[in-house]
């Protein structure tokens, strides 16, 4: 019975349920689903026997819109997918179009892009940590995390005027030169952040309630991760030492040294440890990068009217949530013929059913949190 539950849970009539089974609807208006995720849970008492995710509440047809905008006009739209890591989305899109144009951003632009993207990774992980801990019942980390994230958003605001949907980059490089004192601000944040991270560690890492709620919860092994396409910290926590920033470097990542953290068990606690270490590594990348930002132009020669030669390109980056890919087909006009976005949240969410079966209802909340999904990106 347990093997076929996915089909069962989708049945409109519940007549096939056993006497002690129950379909419980969770969401879309539920604070711990991080947006408008709706999950149908098939329960046997407190145990989860099957799930079905109902998504699409936030679908805006981003890929359709792309076909009716010019390449530059579409750039701000990508910020609105994973809106808590807008800079990463922008980086992926700009680099994909640059590849399509056979162009490359100047080195100075790439270095500044790297710094901002790594700051964004820290900010994204901070939101994950705060809300994840909040879901499990630890209220304090949220306030600490938002305090540090605020510092990052201030840097973004000083740099480009926006905090959330930044549109920080332009196709071909950057629109804005780094402001006076940019390095100092980044350095001050990074220096300070080391101490801050220790505060989270003190609150959570050795906390027996935290360990009890996360260890051996939502276990997924590396083979299942790869089969289901789950990427990013989920893949690394299951023991695969793989990161696109190292495997196929983009932006300026080949200039910096950093470690790829990996887990062993692939449980929620390992994913917590991996993301915490990623924040430390991002901080180190930023510190290396500000030491020597090369001089030079910030915008390459791509022209004002972008008409990429006909053809197609796929480019992917390691976004905070996993592999973020753009597959763009050009027909030689100013508007893309097709833009396909490979959203990490959408594909990672597929692993949810695998991770949640057999656990208690209370663990569902922990597992949604550890997946680190953003519904804007799931639904696009």
């Amino acid at each position: 019975m347990a093997d076929t539950v996915q089909e069962d849970a989708t049945q409109k009539n519940g007549t096939l349920l056993g006497a002690d089974e129950l379909i419980l609807n969770m969401g879309p208006q539920h604070p711990s689903t991080h947006g408008v995720l709706r999950v149908k849970l098939k329960l046997d008492g407190e145990r989860v026997r099957g799930t079905e995710c109902v998504i699409g509440y936030l679908h805006r047809g981003v890929e359709k819109i792309a076909e009716h905008r010019t390449y530059q006009q579409f750039a701000p739209y990508v910020d609105r997918m994973d809106y808590i890591a807008a800079v990463s989305n922008g980086l992926g899109y700009c680099e994909a179009v640059e590849k399509l144009l056979n162009a490359e951003a100047p080195l100075r632009a790439r270095v500044i892009r790297t710094i901002l993207t790594e700051l964004q990774r820290i900010a994204s992980h901070l939101i994950w940590l705060g809300t994840h801990a909040l879901d499990i019942g630890a209220l304090t980390p949220l306030f600490y995390c938002l305090r540090e994230r605020e510092e990052i958003l201030k840097i973004f605001e000083k740099y480009c005027g926006a905090r959330l949907t930044t549109h920080a980059f332009r196709i071909g490089g950057l629109q804005y030169e780094a402001y006076d004192g940019f390095e100092k601000d980044v350095e001050r944040f990074c220096k300070d952040f080391e101490r801050r991270i220790q505060e989270y560690v003190d609150l959570l890492t050795g906390n027996s309630i935290w360990i009890g709620r996360t260890r051996n919860v939502g276990v997924i092994n590396s083979a299942d991760c790869i089969a289901l396409g789950a990427s990013g910290p989920i893949l690394r926590a299951s023991g695969v030492k793989w990161d696109l920033r190292v495997a196929q470097p983009y932006a300026a990542y080949d200039r910096y040294k950093f470690e790829i953290p990996v887990g062993v068990n692939g449980d929620t606690y390992d994913r917590y440890m991996v993301r915490m270490e990623e924040m430390r590594q991002s901080r180190l990348i930023c510190l290396q990068a500000i030491e020597n930002i090369p001089e030079g132009p910030i915008l390459g020669k791509v022209g004002k009217v972008l008409k990429p030669p006909a053809g197609e390109i796929y480019h992917s980056i390691e976004a905070p949530k996993g592999i973020l890919g753009y597959y763009i087909v050009s027909d030689g006009t100013t508007q893309p013929y097709r833009v396909r976005i490979r959203p990490p949240s959408f594909i990672n969410l597929q692993a949810f059913d695998k991770m949640v079966r057999g656990h208690l209802v209370a663990d569902v909340v922990a597992i949604i949190g550890t997946l680190d999904i953003v519904l804007g990106e799931v639904d696009r």
Partner: protein
């Protein structure tokens, strides 16, 4: 079937979109050029077509050709990225071979592109990644509207939701999918929005009226 995007689509694709979906294009089409400085002088000076797509014949392609013969219809390198054009009749065999023999263990993405003027209207695009070799390969599978390509869920479980999304957006039915239904749009929605003949302003007004209680979603 050798019509890959570049040669045929260039003359073909801009007119059909203008004529095919007559309602919407005027707005974005006219909105696009005026924003940059010189809209007119730019088009008359097209550079001589640089061939970015070149036929590919490396060892990987040769292994595929040796194994599958004419099923591999074409092998192209576009901007240093390789793709194979595969006949849809043997999609699952090629996919299984790719996973087991060539170690493309990750189905990174699976999507489709609509070319309404073509006889086989859609291209299915499977983007594969190999962890051991750190390379990517795209499989491009032309399918007609009423073709039922084999589902890849058996081979890469990641294909489950991706195929549902393709079905949702393009209306392509996959044979052997465990539960092929819409994923992003409501189940009762009529039409497949990412087809080129589905206008950007188009919507299922009956559904909107019935379920949202408003006249239009615009």
């Amino acid at each position: 079937m050798a019509d890959e995007p570049k040669p045929p689509q260039q003359p073909e694709s801009s007119p059909p979109e203008a004529s095919g979906s007559s309602a919407a294009p005027p707005a974005p089409k006219s909105a696009a050029p005026p924003s940059p400085a010189a809209p007119k002088p730019a088009p008359p000076a097209p550079k001589p077509p640089v061939s970015l797509q070149v036929p590919l014949d490396n060892e990987l392609v040769q292994r595929y050709r040796a194994r599958f013969g004419a099923v591999v219809q074409d092998a192209i390198e576009d901007r240093k990225q390789a793709y194979l054009v595969i006949d849809s009749s043997q999609l699952s065999e090629v996919a299984r071979y790719s996973r087991d023999e060539e170690k493309f263990d990750l189905l990174e993405d699976f999507t489709a592109v609509d070319w309404p003027r073509r006889e086989k209207r859609f291209d299915l695009i499977a983007i594969l990644y190999s962890f051991p070799h750190n390379i990517r390969l795209r499989l491009k599978v032309p399918v007609a509207l009423d073709d039922r390509p084999a589902s890849l869920v058996e081979i890469w479980p990641a294909a489950n939701w991706l195929e549902r999304e393709i079905f949702d957006m393009f209306g392509i039915q996959f044979d052997g999918h465990p539960g092929l239904k819409r994923i992003l749009l409501p189940d009762e929605w009529q039409g497949h929005p990412l087809r080129k003949d589905y206008d950007i302003l188009q919507q299922d007004t009956a559904w909107v009226r019935e379920n949202l209680g408003i006249e239009s979603g615009q």
